[in-house]
Symmetry: C2
Subunit: 491 residues, 2 copies
């Protein structure tokens, strides 16, 4: 297939033409959530970013196997392999089995992603379901001499690795930087070097999530899962690995080291990272009091929110920025996104009202090409959106009779929106809180019945019967009582 | 807590008072789907049956840990440990990775269960995610002398087991029966005895789903997963194990043998089994041409269906039979269920129209007691439903003025429906194809605008302005064009 897609490769620090290793197949791995809390904006942004890539690659004709994992074991509170397992801690606090915590928050995550119209990945492997694969990975690294055992745990030997390879190739850090910024924490004495990271941790007696291994009853280090599962489902070399920028170091740097140390070469061709999200200019964090879950956005139930924002508003807002730029959430910005999206939707809905002319007074043929150009330019969704606004302007002019369009140009505009706004950007029509609509419509029925009552009072039986008969035909059941008419819609 | 719940224990072949091993906690394990095809009635019935039990136990105050597994490896086409793995076969036919098949059909299953208002279980473990636990189980059985290795596979030694214990205790079969009905299939020569079953199978070279083990690269026998995962999440003894009757032999019989052979005693206190479903009196099967998926029921897209049946109609229909009785699906029976359910819903919706009296002319106090009695009698949902019909009759009489009810009796009736119809039976109000409602409501808006046009034509400005202003206040945007008024609902 002809292809002009370029994507920014974090590894080479430049935009590169995307060339699939094994076309038409594309293998893509994205780091999914650690499921110990409600999904928030930090989950939504990578999910939406790589959903766009998933959709666009498929639109271009690739067959994409998209793997996004669920981290349910081994992700400790501190990056330096210390602290409690995040899932286990939540389970302890809530007096649950860790896998009950996993099930609960995985379902919440799935629900939120569905509301955001994020397509499910092709495979969604759980870290706890791939302990054997992780143990095999650790064995290979040990066999190749890049890891050592220490009191039942296995650590990656960063110094040794860095002599033969380049630790820091992705993040641009060098080992001295890493050492200077590594905190000395309790329990680090097991490591030969503070920069070393755990491949397997011996479980403390109170640790519930544990499995047998050649070294100890324990659990895998956090970085192992993605290397092991990516390789299992996408092979020893695959096209794309994505995630948030915050994962570049240590997580993805360590993944590269694990891959090279185990199989002699890196697995991933293109490393892609989305930028972070701030709230009113500040980093989002539970301790900062500005932590907003997706569900709170959808319902408006958070003191930082002036109103509820629909899932599509959140999605559209995220797409109004390029994925490598920062996004700052504020009520003003969200309200602006809401208005902008509804202007596009209104223009789309108005297309049917255009009266086609024999010839067009404006040109619409270049819109699609421009949108493809923007998508091919490292998924530049804000530029795609700006072209859609230009197209919306043409539609509105034509609706108002200030521009002429042929029938085929009208069809072209509809196809433009269908392709880019709906299929590729993944925006969908919302019914704006269904019950609110039902309520408004219900009052319209009351108003119509009031008109019928007035007609009856005026002995205008023709009108009153007509209203009743038409309502009945639509499935309404009307009952006249001494206090007026009541109704019910039987469909 | 006081408790009169009795349940039929397949193991003892009688109804027994339910006594939790560790109150208020209850551990419940139910066999979930093998995810290689779309969910059908055979999936709906056990899911709904044990959803009722899950809901009722929680209603009684128990804290239930409900484990329902996903079988994604090891379930072969034939019970006698032969044939292709069901998932792997589907993956081969569709040229997918087996876990892509698992992901696709697991999501379809979850969606269907959500539509049927089946609550998600507390933990939903995948067989492929618990290979280590299954290997540990096999090791224990080998260590205890109840299994043997043969060409890299491990088989359970049924003869040896039956000398010390009772193989057939659940199904009532004896070993001679089993031997007489076991088919001789290719590859059975590895077994010492045709009744033996696989605990671990060495993988053929073409087999994708394989893991290392002390015996071979291979995969676990189908029966292992439930024993290993049940024990992991619910402990060495737990309260309830459920599933369809078709699983009693060999699956559950083998689970008991594995548990006893590995830990010296059975795990499960109460074994519960739902009966099967027939379609127009016939067994349902792909080869019989009467196979109907749940989605086909919901959409009506199957030549055997005269119409679409909503998820709640399917649920209500299943609950109209006791779970240990057979259920025969036919269009007539489904239509009857649809009507019956809607009579109950209408009665519930009419409760608000009852004018309370100073005293009641009928007694409503015994309804709840009778419903509890029915639920306590081995979850007798059809009897619960019959009591709700009696209550609906009282409601309708009161609405029509043919019976008197005090305000507190009216409240009691509402509480009866809330508790039994909604909370315990899990029926919920349906909006019968939302778009159909929107369409009907939309036409009502058109009708009202027509009334406004008539008012304008009559120069009745007061009416026409009133209608416009009220619509605007509700969020409708009205545009007067030369072809009449158009509208849009902005909410």
């Amino acid at each position: 297939m002809e292809n002009k897609l370029t994507i920014y490769n974090t590894l080479t620090r430049k935009k590169e033409l995307f060339e699939a290793l094994n076309p038409p197949h594309v293998g893509m791995y994205v780091c999914g959530p650690t499921v110990y809390g409600d999904p928030h904006l930090g989950h939504a942004r990578p999910a939406i970013t790589f959903d766009i890539l998933f959709r666009y690659l498929q639109h271009l004709g690739y067959k994409v196997r998209y793997v996004r994992n669920i981290t349910d074991v081994g992700h400790l509170e501190h990056d330096a392999d210390e602290g409690e397992d995040k899932i286990a801690k939540k389970a302890r606090l809530e007096q649950l089995e860790p896998m009950e915590v996993v099930q609960y928050y995985t379902l919440r995550y799935h629900k939120a992603m569905e509301m955001l119209n994020v397509l499910p990945p092709s495979i969604e492997p759980h870290a706890s379901g791939h302990i054997i694969e992780q143990i095999e990975l650790v064995k290979q690294i040990l066999d190749n001499g890049y890891a050592y055992e220490s009191q039942g745990s296995i650590y990656f030997d960063v110094n040794k690795y860095n002599k033969d390879h380049h630790y820091g190739i992705l993040s641009g850090r060098n080992l001295d930087d890493v050492l200077n910024t590594t905190r000395e924490l309790d329990g680090q004495e097991e490591k030969h070097n503070p920069a070393d990271f755990a491949l397997w941790k011996k479980a403390q007696p109170e640790h519930i999530m544990r499995w047998p291994s050649p070294w100890s009853n324990g659990f895998p280090g956090w970085h192992c899962e993605c290397t092991a599962m990516g390789r299992k489902y996408l092979g020893e070399r695959f096209d794309i690995h994505g995630g948030g920028m915050d994962l570049i170091f240590p997580h993805h740097e360590c993944e590269i080291a694990q891959a090279v140390a185990s199989q002699g070469h890196d697995i991933v061709h293109y490393w892609m990272h989305n930028n972070m999200i701030t709230i009113n200019g500040q980093k989002m964090g539970k301790s900062l009091g500005n932590f907003i879950t997706l569900n709170e956005f959808f319902t408006g139930q958070n003191p930082n929110l002036k109103q509820a924002y629909s899932p599509m508003t959140i999605r559209f807002f995220i797409l109004m920025a390029h994925y490598r730029g920062t996004v700052d959430f504020s009520n003003d910005a969200l309200q602006a996104a809401e208005k902008a999206m509804s202007r596009l939707m209104e223009a789309y809905n108005a297309i049917g009202r255009i009266q086609p002319s024999a010839e067009s007074s404006v040109s619409v043929s270049e819109f699609k090409g421009k949108c493809y150009e923007a998508m091919d330019d490292d998924l530049n969704t804000p530029i795609v959106i700006s072209h859609l606004f230009d197209a919306a302007k043409v539609i509105n002019q034509a609706v108002d009779g200030n521009a002429k369009l042929t029938a085929s140009d009208v069809a072209e505009l509809k196809s433009l929106f269908d392709t880019f706004l709906f299929d590729i950007l993944g925006i969908k029509a919302e019914e704006g809180g269904g019950s609110g609509r039902e309520e408004a419509f219900g009052k319209v029925v009351d108003m119509l019945l009031e008109q019928r009552a007035i007609a009856k009072a005026n002995k205008d039986w023709a009108t009153s019967d007509k209203i009743r008969n038409e309502l009945t035909a639509l499935g309404f059941e009307i009952k006249d009582t001494k206090d007026g008419a009541t109704w019910k819609l039987n469909r």
